[in-house]
């Protein structure tokens, strides 16, 4: 019945849009622009969260143990290694291993300039990260003073990467020790670190004479198959002394995000920018629709004089709004995908299109156009045939 009526109906909104090609192009451009703004802000926000939590998400673990004083990955402080052995007492825990993390100044192997890198010391006999490039090179870092280098580190390391890929030995200096770069992996820079150096726990302790093997930065706890990490986390927190806290891997990611939100209001800034994109869209679409309604006021009044209801004309305006939303969205997505890939290459930001974001921005676009449509239809009231003729 409704379908039948739709087929009978003259697609007035679409016809009006199509008739004025310039206005149609301007509208598509405007909506695409608003969509691009929203896509970029949301994409960059997500990319920043992702790049700042990349090491967390690549940890091969179910649960982490950190000091109660811990603030974020690069500022964990340390806790006694004994807590890891105690954790083994808790039912459901399969294994617990230590990670040592600290900042250090190293000299750029090519330019010899000093920059801060985050050194992570792992037990080379276990797999701390879910990174094949790391796990294949664990034997290499069993040699003393040997590190794996983060190829996505901030800065110009192309020469280093080329040398390592060609199996040439690259050495540099840290704390007056000669360090060999034996392999590469990829995690990326974050707000607080330019890059990560991965090494064995033994080499780590040699680089930091003040750190003791008994004081660890991060504990990685594997649960036994079939155990629920959430439940084990609760048991660990209940059992272990107050100087450590346990959280799931996702909890650790959220912990980092919460720290970012607290110290760098990126969610607010990018959320605000997204809102501005949304408002810009409303203004543009409103301008277009209200100009269109104004141009057709006499025709609309004529239709009313012929016996068309307001509903029919409202329908035509909403039809315009929704068509604009749909056809403006397509170039918006296209350009955003291009800009995403540009940002990945130039900005080293892990920024990808997500289905959820597509749905979100499309919904926002429809809402944006509908709101403009509602405001624009207020002018319809002035299309009173009795006043116009």
């Amino acid at each position: 019945m409704i379908l039948q009526q739709l087929r009978r109906r003259t697609p007035l909104g679409w016809i009006q849009l199509r008739h004025n090609k310039t206005r149609l192009l301007v509208s598509i451009g405007g909506i695409a622009f608003a969509d691009i703004l929203m896509f970029m802000q949301l994409g960059i926000l997500n990319g920043l969260y992702d790049s700042n939590t990349a090491p967390h998400r690549q940890l091969q673990t179910d649960i982490v143990l950190v000091s109660t004083q811990a603030r974020q990955l690069t500022n964990l402080l340390s806790f006694p290694r004994r807590r890891l052995y105690q954790a083994m007492d808790v039912p459901g825990v399969a294994s617990a291993q230590a990670l040592y993390i600290n900042f250090i100044d190293w000299k750029h192997p090519e330019t010899r300039q000093k920059t801060a890198m985050l050194v992570v010391g792992v037990n080379p006999d276990t797999k701390a990260f879910d990174l094949p490039a790391v796990n294949q090179s664990l034997d290499k870092i069993k040699l003393p003073d040997t590190v794996l280098f983060d190829r996505a580190a901030r800065g110009n390391y192309q020469w280093v990467i080329d040398q390592v890929e060609q199996k040439r030995t690259v050495t540099t200096e840290i704390e007056r020790r000669t360090i060999t770069i034996a392999g590469l992996f990829e995690l990326g820079a974050s707000f607080t670190t330019d890059g990560i150096l991965l090494t064995s726990d033994q080499s780590f302790l040699r680089l930091f004479p003040s750190r003791q093997a008994g004081q660890v930065s991060l504990g990685l706890v594997q649960v036994q198959p079939g155990s629920d990490p959430e439940a084990v986390v609760e048991d660990l927190n209940a059992y272990l002394p107050q100087d450590v806290k346990a959280m799931t891997k996702q909890g650790f990611v959220d912990f980092e995000k919460a720290y970012i939100d607290q110290n760098q209001p990126i969610a607010f800034v990018f959320g605000l920018a997204t809102t501005i994109g949304f408002i810009v869209g409303i203004v543009i679409v409103y301008q277009i629709l209200s100009t269109d309604v104004n141009d057709h006021l006499a025709e609309y009044a004529t239709f009313k004089a012929m016996g068309y209801r307001d509903r029919y004309l409202l329908g035509a305006i909403f039809e315009e709004a929704l068509i604009l939303a749909a056809i403006g969205f397509i170039p918006g997505v296209g350009v955003s995908l291009g800009l995403y890939s540009l940002l990945r290459q130039v900005g080293a930001l892990p920024i990808y299109m997500l289905l959820l974001r597509l749905v979100l921005v499309f919904t926002l676009t429809v809402v944006m156009c509908s709101l403009s449509g509602i405001v624009a239809t207020r002018q319809l009231r002035s299309a009173d045939p009795a006043d116009i003729f």
Binding site: I15, H19, A298, E299, A301, T302, F303, R309, A386
Partner: protein, 233 residues
């Protein structure tokens, strides 16, 4: 006895509210029977167009009685007015065609409002009647590409395509040269005869008075000569 199609008794109408309220129609009485062509003349501001808009259901009359096709339109609700509008064809001084719609689509809009024909049937009938008025070659022209007379012919076709029982025309020839104007009224007369519909036309144009069965004259909101015959004019 035959019932009048348009039956106006003691009709009063006002514009404005409160202090500014001004009476524009005073005790109008008019009966128009089926098939009649009635022309209403009078100076501007005399209230001709107001009567036309009241009969056409574009606004609701204030007091008295206004029956169109048996339905009382005085104090009618907007819902009733919308229904009333669908029963007559309204021709405006300007053609008021939708500039984004072709001639054929514009005429189809006159049928679509009734909601009883399929799309193909609507297009078929619209094309047929456009051909009858000599616009068969211009079906898919946009109004911008038609001459003034052609546009007014499309507008008349749009008003008449659904075979209304009443046609209301507000100075349909005002924007046309004498030849096109003549063509337009001839067309109206011809279709009125074919469809046996009633025409109430407001005009200043003395050149077209000859098509009228009856001429009524408005002056300062009163209908001065209800029974003026063509011979007397």
């Amino acid at each position: 006895m035959q019932q009048p199609v348009i039956h106006i008794q003691h009709l009063n109408h006002y514009f404005g509210e409160g202090e500014l309220r001004k009476q524009v129609l005073f005790d109008i009485n008019l009966e128009i029977f089926a098939g009649e062509i009635v022309i209403m003349t009078g100076s501007s501001g005399s209230g001709k167009t107001t009567i036309l808009t009241l009969v056409g259901g574009l606004r609701s009359a204030h007091s008295g009685s206004l029956k169109v096709l048996g339905q009382e339109l005085c104090q009618a609700t907007s819902q009733q007015l919308v229904q009333a509008r669908r029963r007559n064809g309204y021709i405006f001084q300007a053609h008021n065609l939708h500039c984004s719609l072709t001639a054929l689509q514009n005429v189809c809009m006159g049928l679509e409002v009734h909601g009883n024909l399929s799309r193909t049937k609507m297009q078929h009938r619209a094309a047929q009647i456009l051909a009858e008025v000599g616009l068969g070659d211009c079906l898919h022209y946009y109004p911008d590409n038609l001459s003034g007379g052609q546009k007014q012919r499309v507008a008349i076709t749009r008003a008449l395509v659904s075979y209304p029982q009443i046609v209301l025309a507000d100075e349909p020839t005002a924007a046309l040269d004498s030849k096109s104007g003549r063509n337009v009224v001839n067309l109206m007369q011809q279709i009125a005869q074919e469809q046996s519909c009633t025409i109430l036309m407001v005009t200043h144009d003395n050149r077209i008075l000859d098509i009228a069965d009856r001429i009524v004259h408005m002056e300062d909101g009163t209908l001065s000569s209800n029974t003026l015959s063509l011979d007397a004019a």
